[in-house]
Amino acid sequence: MPTRTGRTAAAGVTPHLAERDIAGMLFTADMYGVQLDQLAGVLGVGEPRARAITAGWRRARYAESARIGPGPAWVWLTRPGLAACGLRFPATPPALSRLAHLRAVTSVRLALEATASYRAAGAFWRSERRLRARMGGRVGLPDHLPDAEIHWPDGAPVGWAGECWAVEAELTRKTLARTAAIMREILTRTGDYGCPAAQAREPGRPPRHARVLYLCSPAARPVVTRARAQVGALAERVEIRDLPPGAALPGGAR
C-alpha cells in the first residue's frame, strides 16, 4: 500500500507497494483502464476496499480515477504509475469511445483467469496495449491488432501448451466481409506484431495464432458465426463464445 503519510512519488519518495498493489497496477496498465468493480475482482476484495486501495494509488500519484462513463469509476495509471510498473505506454485516460470495449475485454480476461486450467498453466495475457506498444511508431499500418494474445507456456498441463491464441471481443456488428477478413488475417499471420512486413505472412511458416477466440455480444454473434463459415478450413481454429456476464457497461451504454 502507498504510505498514508503524504510522502508520495512526486515528493521523491517511493511509496511502499504490496504485492496486491503491484498486480492490480500491472493489470490496470495492461487494460488501459479498469472500472472499479472489475478492479475489485482483480484485487480479490470488495468494491469499497478497492476504492480505498485506489485512493492510495491516487495519493501516490500513480493513478487517476473518475466517473467518465456509466457505472463505477474508472481507474487508470499516470505516467509515474506506468514508470513504476516499468511500462513505457503513453499515459492517457481511457478513451470515452472505447469504454464499453475495454470493459468487455477486461471481463473476458477475468473470466479466463478465473479458470483452473488458466491458472494451472500460468498463461500470459499479452494485452492490446502491449501489442500496440511493440508496434512503436508504426501504428497506422493496415495490420489488425487483436484485443489480446494468450500465450500458453510449453509444458503446461493443458492440451494446447505452447500455443498462442488471439482474443477478439466483439460488441457491435461489423460487415461480414470485414469480420471474415480480420479472421483470415489473424489466422494466417506468421510473424509477431511489430515484425518486418515481409515476415508478417511468410509462406511455409507455422501460423502465429493456433486459434482465435471470439467473445461476442448477442448482436455481433450472427455476423461472426457467418464469417467463420466463410473462412473455409480456417474455421476449425475459430472459437466463438458469448461475452461473460457483466461484460456490458452498466446501464447498457455501448
Binding site: 473476458v108 473470466a111 479466463l112 478465473a114 479458470t115 483452473a116 486450467s117 488458466y118 493443458v158 492440451g159 494446447w160 500455443e163 489466422l187 494466417t188 509462406p203 507455422p206 501460423p207 493456433a210 486459434r211 477466440l213 467473445l215 448477442p218 454473434r221 450472427p222 458465426t225 467463420r228 463459415a229 473455409g232 478450413a233 480456417l234 474455421a235 476449425e236 481454429r237 475459430v238 472459437e239 466463438i240 463464445r241 458469448d242 461475452l243 461473460p244
Partner: protein, 632 residues
Amino acid sequence: MIRRYLGLAVLLTGLRLLGRLILLLAGLAAVLAAAPVSMVAVAALVAAWLAGWPPARLYRAALWCLPMVAVWLAATAAAARSWPRVAAAPYLAWLAMWHQAAAGSVALAAVTIAPVAVPLGLVAGGLAWSRRIYAMQTGAGGLSLTAPVAFDRRQWRHQVRAARARIAAPGAVPLLSRRGAVVAGAVIRTVGHRSPALAALPYQRLRSHQVVIGTTGTGKTTLLLRLWAGFLARGLQRHAAGEGQRPLLVVLDCKGGADSRRVADRARRVLREAGARSTAIWPDEATLSLWALPPQQLTTTLVDMIEHGSGGAAYYTDVMEAVVALAVGAPAGPPASTAEFLARLDAGWLTAAYAAGRAGDAALLRSAAGHIGDIALRFRTLFRRLGGGLDGPGGFGDADVWYCILEGTSEIAVAEAQARALVDLLASFAAHGRGQDRDILLAVDEFSAVSRRLPIWQLYERARSLGLAVQVSAQSWPGLAAREDERYRIASTADGGIWLLRTPHPEPVTGLAGSRPVADTSRRLRRVPVWSRQGMSRMRLAPVADPALIRSLGVGQAAYIYRGGVTFVQVKRLIAAPAAVTGARAADRTPGAARPAAAMAGQPAGRGAGDGPARPPDAGPLLDEAFGGEHG
C-alpha cells in the same frame, strides 16, 4: 325544501364516509390483532411477487406446514391432557404471543405463534396474491389502463429471474427426476399445464414425435442436447431394469461444416456422460452400408437419391428405375459395394448376367440399352460427391448414438441424397434388422436443408409402428417442409409436443396450441386516476401460447406446447465432460471403416498446407468453464 334536501344529502354522504371509516378501522384492527398472520401474509405476498410464483405455490407451502401444526397440537395435547385446551391452543398461543412480545421476548413470541401464523399467513398471502392476479388478468385492477400489461411484463421478468436462479444453483436441475422423467430446465410460467418448479417430460413423450423450432443463437442445440441426453439416460435405465429396449439415438445434422463437427464433439461428450457407450460420427469417423438394404428397398433408395424431374423426364426416371432394378436384382445377388454397383451399370455386364434369365428382362434390357451409359454417369457422379460414408461397413446397431453430419449448407443436393439414404437405412433397420429390439429416436436438425426431398411426414406416419420416434428441428415454420400442408402434417402429428424457441413467425404453431377463455373487463374512467365502479365484462378467446411472448424469448428460453397448454422453460445447459475424444481414438472404437475426413469426397476439403497447423486440441472445457458453451 332545497335546504332540507341539501341537508339530507350532506347527512347521507357523512354517514357513507363514516361507514367506510368504521370498516377501514375494523380492518386495520383485525390486521393488527392478527399481526403475526398479517406479517407472514405480507412476506408471502412479496416473495410471490418477487419470484413470480403462482398462488398454488403458497398453498402448497401452507400444506407443507401441516406436519408442524400436527406436531405442535400433539405436544400441546400431551402437555395439557385436555381436548378443550387443544381446541383453544391457537387462541392461547395468540394470547401468550402478545404477553411475551409485551415483555420484550420477541423471538419467543414468534416461536410461540409460528405453528398457527405461518400456515394461515401463507394461505392469506396466497388468497391475496390470487385476487391480485385475477384482477390484473381480467383488467379490473390497476390504477392506469396499461397496468395489467405492465404487471404481466414485470411478472415475466420476475419469473425469468427466478428460473435462472434455479438453474444456476448446482444440482438443482438434474437430468432425470426421481420418477425418471427427463428434466429440461426450470419452469418460468405455465398456461394450461401444472406449474411445478422443474419442467420434466415423461420418457414416453420423447418416444413420440416432437418438433423444435428456433432461430440460430436461441439455445436450440442446448435444448436438443439435453433432450437427447435425457432420452439416452432414461432409456438405458429402463433397459438395465428390464423395462424397455436399449435406446438408439440417430442425429442427422443437416447444417454441416466446422460448426456441426464442433456440436458433434460436444454431443459425444455430453452423451457419454449420459451413458452412451459409443458415439459414431458419420461420415468422418464411421461408415454405414447402403448395400445392406433389402434389394427392393435398395432400388427405390438408389433411384430416389438421384434428382429427376417430372413431366417428360418421368420417362427417363422409369428407364433409370428399370435399369437399377436389373443391376440390383441380378441373378448373382445384390451389389455389395459402390464399385460393384457401378460396374453393373454396363450393357455388357447386364446382358451377360441376364443371358439365361427371363425373356422379359432381356427385352427390358434391349430397350433401355441406349440409356445405360447416361445412368451410369449419373450414379458415378452421385457416389463421387457422396464419398465413402455409405459404402460400409457398419450399421446402426453398432453404436448407441449415430451423429451424421450432412453438408446441407455447402452441398444441398448431396445432403438431400445422404438424408434420403440414411433415413431409408434407419427405417429398414427398424423394420427388419436388430432395430426391432431398440427404442429409436431419429433427430433431424436443420431440417430445412433437406426438407425438399425428404418427405419426413411419411416417416412420421409409419414410424410409430416401427417403434421409431422422430424429432424434427428447424429454424422457422417454413423450414419444416416445402409445402404448407406438409408443415401442418408434421406439426399436428407431433404428439410428443412442440418446442418453440424465439422465432419471428410463431403464429402457425401457437395456433396449434389452441385458445382459452379469458375475461375482458372495461371500466369507466371518471378522472385520472379515479375509476368508476361501473364497467362491463365479457369472455373472449385468447391464444394459449402468446405469439408476442415467444417472439421476445431470451437465449435458452423455450415454450413447450403440449395438449392445449404451454410451459415456458429456462433450459439448463449440460456441461460436457472435460476430455474430448480425438479423431484417431474414436476411429478405433466406433464401428465402420473409419477413415480421415479428408479422404472422403463430398466432405469439406482437409486442411491445405498453407491453412495452418493440424486441428487444434479441444479447448472446449476451458472455454465452457469461462464463458459457457456454444449456442445452437
